[in-house]
């Protein structure tokens, strides 16, 4: 065994606490690094990743079976990678007990294949008659689970046996090829993958190639992967800036803490370095001893941390990206390679700088440098503090960070990042909550009542519940609701599926009358429609269609067409909703009655008695259960924010822990002396905790404004990614009491990190310390 290895191994064994701290810190930092890089990787291109994993179709095409045969389609595809033809049926669910809109159902024997490898993430594939698999993004089952039976008049009962996701969006549901016949198929679906499909022109060229041998009018419709990608990114892109910033924060915290811990370990060993030199170790051997000494626990911590990171970071990343349909959650190989190689390189680099300095130091100076550094500034600060009225343990603690300015700066940076993370997470959480509250109001003083089946849009009812069918007329119902004791406002409305000229997607027009100012969506710009032909829309509607307030668009529903003028922007989460005054319904759906009512109750009104009275007056009305107001996006972002904050806060506290361990070790003689002249253990604890508390206060004062600035950058980016506007309720979330609390988090991180080693130092044996000179 070489002298270097012997000395390094002896140092590792003798300095157990330091070894453990380096191991734990590198482990935590490696896990954080894996998580951070995993987030950055996941946020880089989740759709592309899911698309590649599923071998998504660049083009999904529907053909008329009356005009082209399956053999012709296969032949036309030629050498192009394709799947199909699959028989495709259009199923209208509006007459059933459960309204799921119009479903595109495809008969497909299995979910695999060369193109569009559908991911069955719950249950199993439909292989038998009477079975159906519904398309849902992972994790979003809704109110229907496996076993639910879909009953439609004139159609076979279909039992849901699984949930699957096609990144291509090739179908709303799948059944076995044997079952599709009973659903009256009206099209043949072909799925293609082209060698070049990055642009619309390339997709069009591919389409031209595969349809060249097909009768011209046989092609019923197509869906490009570019269109699907645009939609997915607009809906789920809000995650990306959020994930990226937390990834960057995690990376910064991991680098800082490792630099702090490792360089601290070398600096704390300067005296030992001097002694090694004194007994004949060459400068290079001394440097090697220290590099090996820190590398042993660092390597162990790195291996363990990478494993832990892979285990625990995945659920966070999974929550964030599963909406894109990413089901293969193994991190990209480069994530683990960078963590496994990068962390040891970081450790070695952090150790190398002070080790090189120690290498150059003469032995005598290295030995004397082993004690605390004393700069002019530190001495001036301590002198000033000595004269203050503060308790001596506090004033001594306040001066301590100035003795090791570099170490204190790194510790401060960790605390700043911790506070910044908390501030950002709190801000994002409040922005998400505020947005969620605005677009999905769940006020306890509101009651929703259905008067009849909706004209369009999703409305799932529990199985066995009768469809609403109001007994009274529309006017009588509204009048009845207004006259109920406790009613303070009533809004009546209905909805229509409509086509918007120039758009690629349908929209839902909601017609409101009554107390829209109280119960309607919040108007951000412009005004609520106050006459026929006026509408308000969400900003996503405008952005997706290149429209602006003041523009006029043509809408068509039930064979009626009219022009409407956009007079304002409202805050809602649905890009395809148009809000109109009731007077406009007469143009598009003459004679329509309100299909739902929304009422507001006075404070103190008994909800049960109120709804019972409404039902008694019109038994055909159906009272909807109160909305839970939650959104899966908000829940995921808030949940991820909490977890990431706890992780990064804990890592920052670990940085503080390490600093206190190093400071206490360097100052054990001073602490022993202080105890010998009467400083109590509590005062020693206060001294050391105060030394970090001061950094905590400073970290809070710096971290909060920085966190707010980052929030002001991230939230608009999230909003824009979701094609929404960064409205004031998203931006103005920080208020004075909250800011004070956030600033205190710096102190909390510092105190939590400092208190354990401080208490350990307070129990130091004076006799041992003072006589070990």
């Amino acid at each position: 065994m070489s002298a270097v290895w012997s000395a390094a191994w002896a140092a590792v064994r003798r300095r157990k606490l330091q070894t453990i701290v380096i191991g734990v810190v590198v482990c935590a930092a490696s896990a954080t690094l894996v998580m951070a890089l995993g987030l950055l990787d996941a946020s880089a291109a989740p759709f592309d990743r899911a698309f590649a994993t599923q071998q998504g179709a660049h083009l999904a095409a529907a053909f008329d079976p009356a005009k082209v045969s399956e053999a012709q389609l296969k032949q036309a595809a030629g050498q192009t990678v394709s799947a199909g033809p699959f028989q495709q049926a259009t199923v209208d669910t509006s007459t059933g007990e459960v309204f799921l809109g119009t479903l595109t159902v495809v008969g497909r024997a299995d979910p695999g294949g060369q193109v569009d490898r559908v991911s069955v993430w719950q249950g199993r594939w439909a292989t038998n008659a009477g079975e159906i698999v519904l398309s849902r993004t992972p994790g979003s089952v809704g109110r229907m689970g496996v076993g639910f039976e879909l009953r439609l008049p004139g159609r076979p009962v279909l039992k849901v046996v699984g949930f699957a996701h096609s990144v291509t969006g090739s179908a709303d549901a799948w059944v076995s090829p044997a079952q599709i016949g009973a659903l009256q198929p009206n099209a043949l679906q072909m799925l293609y993958r082209f060698t070049q499909a990055d642009t619309a022109a390339q997709v069009e060229a591919g389409q031209a190639a595969v349809t060249a041998g097909v009768p011209q009018d046989a092609l019923l419709g197509t869906l490009s992967h570019l269109t699907v990608k645009d939609k997915a990114t607009s809906e789920l892109g809000v995650f990306i800036p959020f994930l990226m910033i937390f990834g960057i924060l995690g990376l910064a915290v991991a680098v800082l803490i490792v630099a702090n811990v490792v360089s601290g370990a070398v600096v704390a060993g300067l005296r030992h370095i001097g002694m090694l030199k004194a007994i004949g170790f060459t400068p290079d051997q001394v440097m090697a001893v220290y590099l090996v000494m820190v590398s042993i626990p660092a390597f162990a911590g790195c291996v363990l941390g990478t494993l832990v990171g892979n285990l625990f970071a995945k659920p966070i990343v999974q929550d964030a990206v599963e909406g894109f349909g990413v089901d293969d959650l193994s991190f990209a190989p480069w994530v683990n390679v960078v963590a496994a190689l990068g962390m040891p390189v970081l450790v070695a680099s952090a150790a190398l700088v002070p080790a090189l300095r120690a290498r150059r130091l003469p032995a005598a100076r290295a030995i004397s440098a082993g004690t605390t550094a004393h700069t002019g500034r530190a001495l001036r600060v301590q002198r000033w503090l000595s004269g203050t009225r503060l308790p001596r343990s506090v004033s001594l603690g306040l001066g301590m960070p100035f003795a090791r300015a570099g170490r204190s700066a790194l510790t401060l940076a960790s605390v700043v990042l911790g506070v910044m993370t908390v501030t950002l997470a709190a801000g994002v959480t409040m922005s998400m909550t505020a947005y969620n509250d605005a677009v999905r109001p769940h006020f306890t003083d509101r009651v929703e009542l259905m008067a009849g089946p909706p004209q369009g849009g999703p409305a799932v009812r529990p199985q066995g519940v009768e469809a609403p069918a109001a007994k009274l007329s529309d006017a009588e119902d509204e009048s009845m609701l207004r006259s109920l004791p406790g009613t303070t406002a009533v809004l009546a409305g209905t909805q229509l599926d409509a086509e918007v000229a120039g758009g690629t997607q349908e929209a839902t027009i909601l017609f409101y009358r009554g107390d829209t100012a109280i119960l309607g969506p919040r108007v951000l710009t412009g005004h609520w429609p106050d006459g026929p032909g006026q509408v308000v829309v969400p900003s996503r509607f405008l952005n997706q269609r290149g429209l602006a307030v003041g523009d006029t668009v043509t809408v068509q529903a039930r064979g009626n067409r009219t022009q409407v003028k956009i007079v304002g922007v409202v805050l809602t989460n649905n890009a395809d909703e148009i809000f109109a005054d009731w007077s406009t319904v007469d143009v598009l759906a003459p004679g329509a009655r309100a299909s739902f009512y929304l009422t507001q109750m006075a404070s103190g009104t008994d909800r049960d008695a109120y709804t019972a009275a409404a039902k008694a007056a019109d038994p055909g009305l159906q009272v909807l259960p109160p909305r839970d107001g939650s959104s899966s996006t908000a829940v995921i972002i808030i949940g991820a924010a909490v977890v990431l904050t706890l992780v990064l806060g804990a890592v920052a506290a670990l940085g503080v822990f390490n600093t206190v361990v190093l400071n206490a070790r360097e100052r054990r003689r001073d602490l022993g002396m202080l105890k010998s002249i009467g400083m109590t253990p509590r005062q020693v604890t206060v001294l050391l905790v105060t030394s970090m508390g001061a950094l905590g206060v400073l970290g809070g004062l710096i971290g909060v404004p920085v966190g707010i600035v980052v929030h002001q950058l991230v939230v608009p980016a999230m909003a824009h990614a979701g094609q929404a506007d960064a409205v004031d309720i998203l931006m103005n979330v920080y208020h004075a009491p909250l800011l004070a609390l956030l600033a205190l988090t710096g102190v909390v991180i510092a105190v939590v990190g400092a208190v354990v080693p401080a208490r350990g130092a307070a129990r130091l044996s004076i006799a041992t310390v003072l006589h070990n000179e």
């Binding site: 004690t371 605390t372 004393h374 530190a378 001495l379 301590q382 002198r383 000595s386 004269g387 203050t388 009225r389 001596r392 343990s393 001066g399 003795a403 003689r669 001073d670 022993g672 002396m673 202080l674 105890k675 010998s676 002249i677 009467g678 400083m679 109590t680 253990p681 509590r682 005062q683 129990r763 044996s765 004076i766 006799a767 003072l770 006589h771 000179e773």
Partner: protein, 233 residues
């Protein structure tokens, strides 16, 4: 709190044993130090003399036996109680001075009084008084690293005297000093004892014992082997 058997006893040890995992440092030591005495504890390295000092200072606890200082049974005091005892009851001088490097000489001394709750201005005034008495007034704003060994030990003595302790404990007070500085410190301790300060010194230095002590106790293998009164030189 145990009653003192000797009305003028400042320190009273009864059958004190201190065992470590692999050795016995003190083996049934009984000792009384009376007010105004200057007791030198001598003996070879590892004999247990520093352990004895630690017991009296409340820096360590005996395995068995009783240690009473100023009427307080140190065995019943918790860590905080021992700290308060050290704060008020004793002053300690160490071989290696143990001054805080980032405090000036004056602030090192004032620190001991500030821990008792004294205001900074009052503590500094009291420290200046001691600096005058010890002849180091001109060095009050100097930091320990810039002081000579003798000056550092004088500062340490000033700190030990800051709270007017009834008992001054010194552990090899001249052990790290050159002969001239050692002489100065000996003179200082002698002067202090002559004005009534009770002293207990642990030392290898026979000259220090001869010069300052009124009684010498020799500890060998954890026991008091010999004890005799001294005529000061």
């Amino acid at each position: 709190m145990a009653a003192m058997q000797n009305a003028d006893a400042v320190v009273e040890l009864t059958n004190v044993r201190k065992e470590y995992s692999d050795s016995t440092a003190l083996d049934g030591v009984s000792l009384v130090v009376r007010a105004g005495e200057a007791v030198a504890v001598m003996g070879p390295s590892g004999s247990g003399k520093s352990t004895l000092l630690n017991m009296i200072a409340g820096l360590d606890r005996p395995t068995s036996g009783q240690v009473i200082v100023h009427g307080s049974d140190l065995g019943v005091l918790g860590e905080t109680g021992l700290a308060l005892f050290r704060r008020r009851g004793i002053g300690m001088i160490f071989q290696f001075f143990n001054l805080l490097d980032d405090l000036s000489a004056l602030d090192n001394v004032a620190l001991a009084a500030q821990l008792t709750g004294m205001k900074a201005s009052q503590a500094r005034a009291r420290a200046l008084e001691l600096f005058g008495e010890l002849g180091i007034s001109s060095r009050r704003n100097i930091y320990p690293a810039q002081l000579s060994g003798g000056e550092r030990q004088r500062v340490a003595v000033a700190r030990a005297l800051m709270n007017r302790p009834a008992l001054l404990l010194a552990d090899e007070p001249t052990g790290a000093l050159d002969s001239r500085s050692g002489e100065q410190v000996m003179d200082l301790l002698l002067d202090l004892n002559q004005i009534g300060q009770t002293l207990l010194l642990v030392t290898h230095d026979e000259r220090l014992a001869t010069r300052c002590a009124t009684r010498v106790i020799e500890v060998v293998d954890g026991r008091i082997a010999r004890e005799h009164s001294m005529e000061r030189a």
